[in-house]
Symmetry: C2
Subunit: 422 residues, 2 copies
């Protein structure tokens, strides 16, 4: 999906992106994010958590009237304090605000780290209450991203929690500032808003540039909507969208301790929507944020879509696609624009799925390079020099299929990740 596109030529959609383009077209705007829906305010400020002095604290505030919310979280068994906190507060299915910091993950910080998270939520709640919106700490989600294993400087956090509420006071803007403040190794902020033809809106922002998969990322995503929907509808829409988007973005096979995706509804549009309408809109926003995350992944020089077709089941297709997407030898070959299809076959062969090596067909960018497990003439000449590479592997065993988005493995990835804390 391209940003701010304004036409489609009426052809039947060949891809998810084209389908969304036809559905929503010019209604998707990347210049707006969480404050595009009615009833939300946001801010992003600098409180000195990052040595760079860049913005590092963000707030998203739901003015209501509704406070419905839902979330999905990392599957990593090692969960950061803010994840444990936010999972707990979401049991009420209500959120008034989300406070997010970059510059420190507050993961592996023990009971003290959890107390820090609690104190941060309490400070936000207290300031919002003083400011006129009665709020409890249990209505404030906390998200953190950055280095694992360091306590946050709580003097800065608590002062920042007060400051950012005042900062946000002025107006409905601030979504873009918030998107900037949650960045770590991201090079660009990521946000999008969908202005639904029905008159309601969904907005979102995301950060994350590595460590994505198999579930989410050091990925923080906040979605907002002004549709009138229950928390259970939000939960269903979010789970369905995540399973097809963020869960299938696999940059390096690593999975963060802090991954969090939240969705908040203000109901401020006064418009009720169906589950199907909500599902489609939330999916569209997640899909767009996902492609922005992929494009900005650490050290990426190629955006790669790995599609497995002809599998016996959807789960099989996904497992094989992940095996290809995570293989270091496949990923370095993609970096080198090298149509080394043998590595794709080797990666298929180690997937935890029974395959038949003699029925596999592989194509790169639409050119068949391997048929029935054997190379075809000209396979080495396929041009992979572009920024986008499409790998399709047909297992020849059934009708199921799945696509995983990934990137190449480049020098820049190694560089960026070899010197992150030092």
């Amino acid at each position: 999906m391209t940003s701010d596109a304004d036409t489609n030529d009426g052809r039947p959609a060949a891809t998810v992106e084209e389908h969304l383009e036809q559905l929503y077209g010019s209604r998707m705007m990347r210049r707006q994010g969480v404050t595009a829906p009615l009833g939300f305010r946001a801010a992003g400020i600098t409180i000195g958590l990052k040595p760079s002095g860049k913005p590092d604290l963000a707030l998203v505030f739901n003015e209501g009237p509704d406070l419905a919310a839902a979330g999905v979280f990392t599957r990593n068994q090692v969960k950061a304090a803010p994840v444990l906190w936010t999972q707990e507060v979401l049991k009420s299915k209500q959120l008034r605000a989300v406070i997010l910091n970059s510059g420190g993950a507050n993961a592996c910080t023990g009971p003290g780290g959890f107390q820090d998270t609690h104190a941060t939520a309490e400070a936000v709640a207290q300031t919002l209450s003083n400011w006129g919106t009665q709020t409890g700490a249990g209505e404030v989600a906390v998200c953190s991203t950055g280095i694992i294993g360091e306590r946050l400087p709580m003097d800065k956090m608590l002062a920042g929690a007060t400051e950012i509420v005042h900062e946000m006071g002025g107006g409905l803007e601030g979504g873009t500032d918030a998107a900037w403040a949650i960045m770590t190794t991201d090079t660009v902020p990521k946000q999008v808003a969908l202005h639904h033809p029905g008159g309601w809106n969904v907005g979102g922002m995301a950060k994350g540039a590595g460590m994505m998969a198999p579930s989410l990322a050091t990925m923080l995503v906040v979605l907002t909507t002004d549709a009138r929907v229950s928390a259970d509808m939000l939960d269903l829409a979010l789970r369905r969208a995540s399973a097809m988007t963020f869960d299938r973005l696999d940059i390096d096979g690593s999975t963060s301790t802090n991954d969090t995706v939240l969705v908040l509804s203000s109901g401020a549009s006064q418009l009720e929507v169906t589950q199907a309408e909500l599902d489609a809109a939330v999916f569209a926003v997640c899909d767009d944020l996902c492609s922005q995350l992929q494009a900005d992944a650490e050290g990426v020089t190629k955006r790669c879509a790995i599609t497995v077709t002809g599998a016996r089941t959807d789960d099989d297709a996904l497992a094989v696609a992940r095996s290809i997407a995570r293989d270091s030898l496949v990923k370095t070959a993609l970096f080198g624009s090298d149509p080394n299809w043998g590595r794709v076959l080797a990666a298929i062969g180690i997937a935890p799925v029974t395959i038949d090596p003699d029925t596999i067909t592989v194509s790169f960018n639409g050119s068949v390079v391997c048929e029935n497990g054997t190379g075809v003439p000209g396979a080495r000449e396929v041009d992979l020099s572009g920024k986008t590479i499409e790998v399709v592997a047909d297992l020849g065993l059934g009708d199921a299929q799945a696509t995983v988005r990934t990137t190449d493995l480049s020098h820049a990835y190694v560089e960026e990740n070899s010197a992150y804390t030092t």
Copy 2:
């Protein structure tokens, strides 16, 4: 274990390497390989499979009197023609010879590729027969390594099969030439011989510099012994040794289509040995070859041992150690000498094993960096600048443990693997 070491100071062995050093000490020689045991000849020649013009064909020949043999192979479901062939011929538990080529894997080459392998074995058998040793193609194992998906130039292979038998005619030397001829991206040949105090010998050679794990590698290994042992004893010794050595060498999580480890016995020493003696000697040779493979892995700047202790079961310990050893973020941190223990915890948390994040202790090079899931003061100051890094993660759940050997993920790895076919 160091090569050609000649002393030990009588201390109790603290590591496997020290134990082997005490057991065999100066009896391990890296200047010798498959022809160290009596009854074996070998050769390595150049037949033009590699653009570089370097040696590319090797032969190991068993003069007997025994022809007992065993093998272990890749677990990849996509198996190269020579693997399928050699698995078949090994059903007889006898081998007269092994022909090995670099410069082409003969994988994913269809029925034609299998016929090529058969024809190569036939040519070796025919030449050996002409030369005075009656041999059938079914007694000739074939191993290939190199690019996947290309047919081998059979004119060169068949002429080479004849030439190499004549080349080997001259004497018992040639083991070192063979070790050179099987190299691909290896920078040094890898061989070792154990001259057992009991008067019998085990020799071996190996190639492989990437793509090792979870089972073997694009790793080819041939072991020889002059002990009088049955094929079943060889099989048992090889399986036990492989499980603890090659199977636990995990460079990049990829697994080749061509991995093969063969062991041949000539019985020429006339000495019978026990299973325990054979197990120990085969393990010692495999362990030494394994450390040579690790040291020469593609683009390696650090040799890393990942030990997981305190697991509930050995399988759990191994699964967690593999999860750490394969994590791209851990490996790039090791490359950068960065004591980023949070990434180790994140990698433990995504292992397919139930863990308790609050009972994990991690140390780098003997310094505790994380206790009960929380960082300790000074953790960021641990010195990882050396060539060898030891990571120990204690899960605090039980008594089982396992060690996986791996390497860092460096620029050179990306460089080497991004331009392999082009």
